[in-house]
Symmetry: C2
Subunit: 614 residues, 2 copies
């Protein structure tokens, strides 16, 4: 409690801090300064991904994970931006002297940029009158630039190089706190747009280049060092997908033509497109053929590749879910340098920047559940069921145009005993795990009857925390496809073949109870259709009852009825539908409540403190 | 550090939790359950605003504030939704028995709704087959409903009341985790939209009615209790502002006609409009006349009243800033039951729900800085300057069509001494606080010369953390208006009338230094225009220097120059431009750096550990 209290106080303090409109970037810098407090004044804790030169201000999450993008990250202590060491003193006690933009390039060690400023005769401008923001590529950034491109720039220093550098400059001072998410700045090269993203994890990107050292204030502006050379952006997403060679084959174009989305992607906006390449489309030719026949499916398919926000690769430090335009979400994560989608490395080319968002090329198509055939919904945890359904010819029996629901038992259900069953019998059982209509989780209600391929009607039982179908209860993970739904079942569904009366009679241990029911005229209740739960006392339970007691009991039929009905509960209570650690109240037909509890560990059920056998 | 560590671990734990896609509502419920842990199982901490019946799950912030919307909030402990007490046992050990929607209305004490369900013959539907979500108004909600409206419903139980209840129902089960922000559900009344907002503070609204008890699972769906009766929504924001009587006068319409925004407000979207009433427009007739003449200003003015998100009043528990479509932000907060904008109670009517957002009627117009005349930018902390500028006729002198910048000293600057100054002299001084052009903070650069109304040229000095104009430095709070800008100055600006040489000579304590400068041939440096800082040694400083030393010093002119130039720094260093608690490095003309530090408390400056007199 003490810890919680302290934590809450800190949260409170942090939430107050955030009101002094500090930007996410500024907050991360403060945080990394707090982390390095013991190292001396103005020191910042930096995390560097091992084996790379990628450095990040330490965030709370990364600090404790000790890793970034799934790779181990070393903690380094450096001077916070704007401060420097002094000989013989701890920490970084000195503020870096202010200089012109030109001079500041030297201070932040953007030496190649400085040299290029000289070559392209921008020295005077960057030293002189005016107020500028310069996004200065680091030396590494220039070295990563395509060699041909770089040579071309250097061979045309007064034109191309001059323009390239002006493309990194804005004629106003913008500190990190002024760089808002989704902001567009006018660069000094033909006023072409610079697209700013300021993410909640503190990362700021400019045309997807990350600011790795921000806010170096100059006498005539400010310098932010970035990790990549920026190229001018003139096209929309629509322009790019219309001209990029990797996105040009017939099927790719066919899909594009189908969609009214294309118009949207030619308009201003903020999107991320995961664009499957030609090869990716080829791989899924068959599936796509089906999708292409249905406009709704094409729309859903395409929208699943689009986000309504700009996600540059450099902003992704860990997996997060993002809602797609289709409605369901995808997980974007990273694995070292690779961007991942739904946990899979599939990004061939990252960060194609456009005027209305960013494109990442992927070598797979993404399939939302909503375009999948019901059989395609089967996941790994239910793969045995999927295999059996195919093997026994049931998958083939599910014709197109009709709707189905799979009640897929988990793999653990298919024990050796089940698997060694007669194939014919197994087929009958599995047929009763396929419904002849589409029912989603939110459609299910208590008492509903669901017709199976096998012709049986299954009963639905809705509980507070789960839904059961006959004896089998669901676990999380229901899915909805184009022609059906899938639900995960904890056990095999077995359909009842006996009435309660038959069950109790067959068992042989309920003779006293049954005779009392007979006397009370309640036997019909046990034979008719209905949804009750009986807590039937076994013969042993009457051991303590004397003959005299029995006589009294049977003499007043009304009293007997009340007592017996107290053992009947409206609704069917399956052990799986009971919640652990709480008392489950069941209304009896007699009127008052029974208290049921499930033991946390052995799952035994006890009713009004008497153990029940299942 | 221990606290921080614990806090961070908790944050880490919380951030992990959030990955198990818990909704904001569900997280708040968990949090309030943790808060009530000591009270027994399944208890939740609830905060009730004193004097009202408004209850909220306790959030971290409200818990420590002890207040909600600025009003004291009592902490109550109640069973968490879905649980109940059992006689003789602590906490809420029992799960509430599951029942039909109809039965559940009784369980959650929505008795009036239950009664109306009976009256309108919906009993069978709410007890029978199907899967429904029912947003059930609490008894208080029905009592708050306009009496005439209620009577009308009750007199037409089979038509109006039936429709009204169907307007609260959806024919699918939606738990709170399924209710996503900005979702629209189809109600069972003519499929009219139900507009869901799920806020990050855990509040969920349906057509701006707040869910006060969520997730009461029923056998045939789920019941959420809401704090207000929902009305069917058919109109867009555009429809409402076109027909609402309080928004219909000439000036109001004139403004509306001007704007291409109106089209947008007729399209699907997610907006909040703070709509000034006719009376509000009347109050600002004069100012609006000016704005109406300029299309850009009209656009900015209108966009400042619009947010690109839906903010229902019930979701506001504390002040937060929201960016308007104009670009700058407004603070929406609350004061008890009242919604406030920028801290002012101005909302006459809350929560007019439309199909594309919500409208709140306000009795004032909101003026963004961007439409203000430069003189209108003067705020309270600079009001004395504002008054003086008006009193001395300077405000009137700032004609329309031209641009200005006010360098407004804070009120504290206008001491008795300043105020008792000759009016003519004061006017001259203040004229030098008004620039003949618009310069925003991000435009300023070191060495810039700014012409004042008084005809003087003021020099700009840019430092790492502040900008100074001559001797006076700025504090935060610069503003940008339609025809100019305003900056806040910590002191009066005084323009230099002497060269350094004149200053040093007049002072009389620098004879040795001046004679050495003469010998080194550097006197010109002290007379010419330029931007240097000199750390001039006073005569006393030479006390320890013997005549022999002096001879050596003057015998080698080059060595002497190097020593003297070590006292000159490029750029002008004003004490206000120095940062506290760090060493400020100044490059000297001789080449190496001087170390300056400002004392935290007495603000004395020390250079290479020698105190400097200012």
């Amino acid at each position: 409690m003490k810890i919680l209290f302290a934590a809450s106080l800190l949260l409170l303090a942090l939430s107050h801090l955030s009101q002094v409109d500090a930007s996410a970037y500024d907050k991360i810098v403060s945080h990394s300064r707090i982390r390095a407090k013991k190292q001396g004044i103005n020191m910042c804790a930096i995390q560097e991904i091992i084996g790379t030169k990628k450095k990040y201000f330490s965030t709370c999450r990364n600090w404790y994970m000790g890793s970034i993008c799934g790779k181990k990250a070393l903690v380094l202590y450096e001077c916070c931006p704007g401060y420097m060491q002094l000989e013989g003193m701890r920490g970084c006690p000195a503020a870096v002297p202010i200089d012109t933009i030109y001079g500041t390039l030297g201070v932040v060690k953007a030496d190649i940029t400085k040299q290029y400023v000289d070559m392209s005769k921008l020295t005077e401008q960057t030293q002189g009158a005016g107020s500028y923001t310069m996004f200065a590529p680091s030396d590494e950034a220039w070295e990563q630039l395509d060699a041909t491109k770089r040579t071309e720039l250097l061979n045309n220093e007064n034109t191309l190089l001059y323009d390239a550098l002006h493309c990194h400059m804005v004629s106003k001072r913008f500190l990190t706190k002024d760089l808002k998410n989704d902001m567009t700045l006018e660069s000094m090269h033909s006023k072409l747009g610079l697209y700013i993203n300021h993410y909640s994890n503190g990362i700021i990107t400019v045309n997807c280049a990350r600011i790795i050292h921000g806010n170096q204030v100059a006498t005539n502006g400010v310098v932010h060092v970035i990790d990549r050379v920026i190229a001018p952006v003139k096209n929309t997403i629509r322009d790019v997908i219309g001209t990029n060679e990797e996105l040009m084959t017939a099927s790719n174009r066919a899909v594009k033509k189908e969609s009214s989305l294309l118009g949207k992607l030619g308009q201003p906006g903020q999107y991320t497109l995961f664009a499957p390449t030609n090869k990716a489309f080829e791989k899924h030719k068959e599936g796509l053929k089906r999708i292409l026949q249905d406009k709704t499916l094409v729309q859903a398919f395409l929208k699943y590749h689009l986000l309504s926000s700009v996600q540059c690769s450099e902003a992704i430090l860990a997996g997060s879910r993002y809602e797609t335009l289709e409605g369901s979400s995808i997980e974007i994560g990273c694995d070292g340098d690779s961007l991942t989608v739904n946990g899979i490395k599939m990004v061939l080319k990252k960060d194609i920047v456009t005027s209305n968002g960013v494109i990442h090329l992927i070598d797979q198509v993404l399939m939302p559940d909503s375009v999948k055939q019901v059989t395609e919904l089967v996941g790994e945890s239910q793969s045995t069921f999927g295999h059996q359904v195919t093997k026994l010819g049931l998958a083939a029996a599910m014709g197109p145009g009709a709707q189905y629901t799979l009640l897929a038992p988990l793999n653990t259900v298919f024990t050796d005993k089940v698997m060694s069953m007669d194939q014919h019998l197994l087929k009958i059982i599995l047929k009763n795990h396929i419904l002849k209509l589409k029912v989603t989780l939110s459609d299910l209600y208590n008492g509903q009857l669901l017709e199976t391929l096998g012709g049986k009607f299954l009963r639905v039982f809705v509980y507070r925390t789960t839904v059961c179908i006959e004896n089998a209860c669901m676990v999380r993970g229901s899915k909805e496809g184009s022609n059906g739904a899938l639900h995960l079942m904890k056990s095999l569904i077995s359909t009842p073949s006996n009435s309660m009366y038959e069950l109790l009679q067959k068992n042989g241990s309920f003779t006293v109870f049954l005779s009392l029911m007979e006397i009370a005229g309640l036997t019909e209740l046990l034979k008719q259709e209905g949804a009750y739960t009986i807590f039937a006392p076994m013969d042993d339970a009457f051991d303590g009852v004397t003959e005299q007691d029995m006589k009294t009991l049977t003499s007043d039929i009304n009293a007997l009825r009340i007592i017996l009905l107290y053992h009947f509960s409206n609704g069917i209570f399956i052990s799986g539908g009971l919640e652990g650690s709480v008392t489950n109240l069941l209304e009896t037909m007699q009127g008052s409540n029974l208290q049921m509890a499930k033991h946390k560990i052995n799952h035994k059920i006890n009713v009004n403190n008497i153990y029940a056998f299942q």
